[in-house]
C-alpha cells in the first residue's frame, strides 16, 4: 500500500477503507478507490478535484521509486506572528503533512528526476521559509546530481504569516532555479489549480516547459482584488489554463490521465538520463 499511507496523516488504511470524497462542483459522493482510479476527477461532472501531494505522487512516479528528503523540516515562526503556531498545528493535523510541499528524487517512466509536489490542503499551499527551503534544496540536489526537476505547483502565494521571510523565498528559489538552468538541466513546471500570487511571480513561470492542467486558475493578482481595484468586469475564463495558453504563457494543457506519459516523453526528448549518468560519475 506504501505511499498512500501518507494521504490521510499516515493512517494505515487501504483505499477501500478510506472515506469517500465529495465533489465540490456537483456534490457527488465518490468511493475513494474509484476516485483514485479516476485520477481524482469527478466521474459525475468531470471536474478536476484538487489532488493531495501523495495522491499525485502515486499517479506520477514509478512505484517504489520516490525517496523523500527534508520531510521533518518545520518553521520556526520567524516573526512570531499571532496565532501562526496554532495554524501550523491545525494544518499538520488536518492535512497529515508537515508542510505544503513534499520533495525528493523519483523515477518517471524510468527516468530519474528531482520532484516537488505542493499540496493546497496545507495552508492553501502558501510559501513560507520551509516551502522555499525544501524547493531550493531539491533544485540544489538536482544540480549536483545532474537531474531534471519536475514540479507540481499549487499555491495561493507567499505566506503572509512569515512576512518578509516569505517574500524573500521567491528570490531564493528563483536563484536555485537559475543555477540549475545554468548547469544545462531541465525544469518542467506543472501548474495546477490554483497557482497564484508570488508563486506565479517566481518558480511557476520559470520552467523550460510549462504544462497546465485543464481549467486550472493561474495568475498573479487575485480576481477579487482586480475587480475591486479597477472596477472592471472580468472576462469569462479569465486566468484559467486555457486563457494562459491563448495568451502564450503556458506550453500546453495536459489531461491528468496522460500526464505521466507526457512527462516521460519530455524527459526522454531532453535526454536527461545522460546528464544524470554524468552527474553520478562526478
Amino acid at each position: 500500500m506504501g505511499i498512500l499511507d501518507n494521504i490521510l496523516g499516515g493512517f494505515s488504511k487501504s483505499p477501500a477503507d478510506m472515506p469517500p470524497r465529495v465533489c465540490k462542483a456537483c456534490g457527488m459522493e465518490i468511493p475513494y478507490d474509484e476516485y483514485l482510479k479516476n485520477d481524482c476527477i469527478c466521474p459525475g461532472c468531470g471536474v478536476y478535484l484538487r489532488m493531495r501531494a501523495y495522491e499525485r505522487l502515486s499517479m506520477i512516479a514509478d512505484e517504489g521509486s520516490f525517496t523523500e528528503i527534508d520531510k521533518k523540516l518545520k518553521t520556526k515562526d520567524p516573526i512570531k506572528f499571532p496565532d501562526y503556531a496554532q495554524k501550523i498545528d491545525k494544518a499538520e493535523k488536518s492535512s497529515g503533512l508537515t508542510e505544503a510541499v513534499i520533495t525528493g528524487t523519483a523515477k518517471i517512466e524510468g527516468h530519474s528526476c528531482g520532484l516537488f509536489i505542493m499540496d493546497s490542503a496545507f495552508m492553501m499551499g502558501s510559501m513560507g521559509t520551509v516551502v522555499g527551503e525544501k524547493i531550493t534544496r531539491i533544485f540544489e540536489k538536482a544540480t549536483a546530481q545532474g537531474l531534471p526537476v519536475i514540479g507540481f505547483i499549487t499555491s495561493g502565494g507567499a505566506r503572509m504569516q512569515e512576512g518578509i521571510f516569505s517574500l524573500m523565498q521567491m528570490a531564493k528559489v528563483s536563484g536555485a532555479v537559475q543555477r540549475h538552468s545554468e548547469a544545462g538541466l531541465l525544469y518542467i513546471a506543472v501548474l495546477t489549480d490554483p497557482t497564484t500570487g508570488g508563486i506565479t511571480a517566481s518558480f511557476a513561470m520559470l520552467g523550460d516547459i510549462i504544462i497546465a492542467e485543464p481549467k486550472a486558475l493561474i495568475g498573479f493578482a487575485g480576481q477579487r482584488v482586480i475587480e475591486q481595484t479597477t472596477g472592471e468586469k472580468l472576462p469569462a475564463g479569465f486566468q484559467r489554463a486555457e486563457f494562459q495558453l491563448e495568451h502564450g504563457f503556458v506550453d500546453m494543457i495536459e489531461e491528468r490521465g496522460r500526464m505521466r506519459y507526457t512527462l516521460g516523453k519530455l524527459l526522454s526528448l531532453h535526454n536527461t538520463d545522460a546528464a544524470a549518468a554524468a552527474g553520478k560519475e562526478r
Partner: protein, 266 residues
C-alpha cells in the same frame, strides 16, 4: 542612530507613503550627473512607473532603474501611481542586460505599493515579468544595489530587489503584503492595519535585524541633502567593493545572501 521605537511601524508605513516623500526621480536628480533617460521594453510599450537610464555617480557610469509615482495628478495617472506594469519590469530587465554588457553597476530605487493590478497586466504576463527579473538578476554579471526609498510592496518591489547590497532609508518599509491587505484577510477588518503593520515586522530596523538588508540610511533629523549625501557615499563604497570582486565570487555571494534567509528546525 535613532532607535526603532521612535515611531510605530504604521507611522513609518504612512511616512513611506507620504505624497510629499521623494521617490526615484528625486534621487536621480540629486545624485546622478548627466543622466540620460532610456525608454521602452522593445516588446510592447514604455511604462512610466519605471524610469531608467545611464548617468555618472561621482564620475562612475551607472545604470539607474527607479520606480516613480509622479507629482501632479496628471503625472500620477500617467505613472499609475508608481505601480509598474509588465512593460516596466521588462524595460528594467533590458536596462540591466545592457549594463551587464558594458560592465556597469546597476542601482535600483524601489518605492511602490506593488505591481499594477489589472486585466491587461495579467494578459501581458505580470507574474512572468517579475519571475524573469528574479531569475535574470540572480545571474547578472555586474553589481546590483537596491535601495528601498518608499514603500517596498511585495513581489512588485522584489522584481528590482535581487541584489548584492540592499539598502533602506530609515522610514522606508518592505513587506510581503500591505498592512491593510493583511488585516482584511486575517481579521476581515482593514482598519486593523496598524496592528498588522506591527506584526509584519516591515521597518528598516526589522529587516536589518533579520539580515535581509545590509544598511539603513538615517532620516531622523536629517535634511534631504544630508540623506542623499550619506546614500551616495555608501553607494560609492559598495560599488568600489563589488567591482573589486571576481564576478563568480560576487554571484556566489549574491545567491548566498538570499540562500540563508529562512528559519526552520529539523
Amino acid at each position: 542612530m535613532a532607535a526603532n521605537d521612535t515611531m510605530t511601524a504604521y507611522q513609518r508605513v504612512q511616512a513611506a507613503r507620504n505624497s510629499k516623500r521623494p521617490m526615484g526621480m528625486f534621487y536621480i536628480d540629486h545624485m546622478i550627473d548627466d543622466f540620460i533617460e532610456l525608454h521602452g521594453d522593445r516588446r510592447f510599450g514604455d511604462d512610466a512607473a519605471i524610469v531608467s537610464g545611464i548617468g555618472f555617480l561621482n564620475g562612475i557610469p551607472v545604470t539607474v532603474i527607479a520606480m516613480e509615482r509622479g507629482d501632479t495628478i496628471e503625472d500620477r495617472m500617467k505613472r499609475h501611481f508608481g505601480c509598474p506594469e509588465p512593460e516596466g519590469y521588462r524595460k528594467a530587465l533590458r536596462m540591466m542586460q545592457e549594463a551587464e554588457k558594458f560592465h556597469r553597476p546597476v542601482i535600483c530605487f524601489i518605492g511602490s505599493s506593488g505591481a499594477y493590478c489589472g486585466i491587461d497586466a495579467e494578459k501581458r504576463g505580470q507574474g512572468l515579468a517579475i519571475a524573469e527579473n528574479l531569475f535574470a538578476m540572480m545571474g547578472l554579471r555586474t553589481p546590483i544595489i537596491s535601495v528601498v526609498v518608499g514603500e517596498g510592496g511585495s513581489g512588485g518591489a522584489l522584481a528590482l530587489g535581487v541584489c548584492d547590497t540592499a539598502v533602506m532609508l530609515e522610514n522606508a518599509v518592505y513587506s510581503v503584503i500591505s498592512p491593510e491587505g493583511c488585516a482584511s484577510i486575517l481579521w476581515k477588518d482593514a482598519s486593523k492595519a496598524a496592528d498588522a503593520a506591527e506584526h509584519l515586522r516591515l521597518t528598516s530596523y526589522d529587516l536589518k535585524s533579520f539580515d535581509v538588508i545590509e544598511k539603513i540610511i538615517p532620516e531622523q533629523g536629517k535634511t534631504e541633502r544630508e540623506i542623499c549625501s550619506a546614500l551616495k557615499k555608501y553607494l560609492l563604497s559598495e560599488i568600489t567593493r563589488l567591482q573589486a570582486m571576481p564576478v563568480s565570487e560576487m554571484l556566489d555571494a549574491r545567491y548566498g545572501k538570499f540562500r540563508k534567509i529562512g528559519a526552520y528546525q529539523k
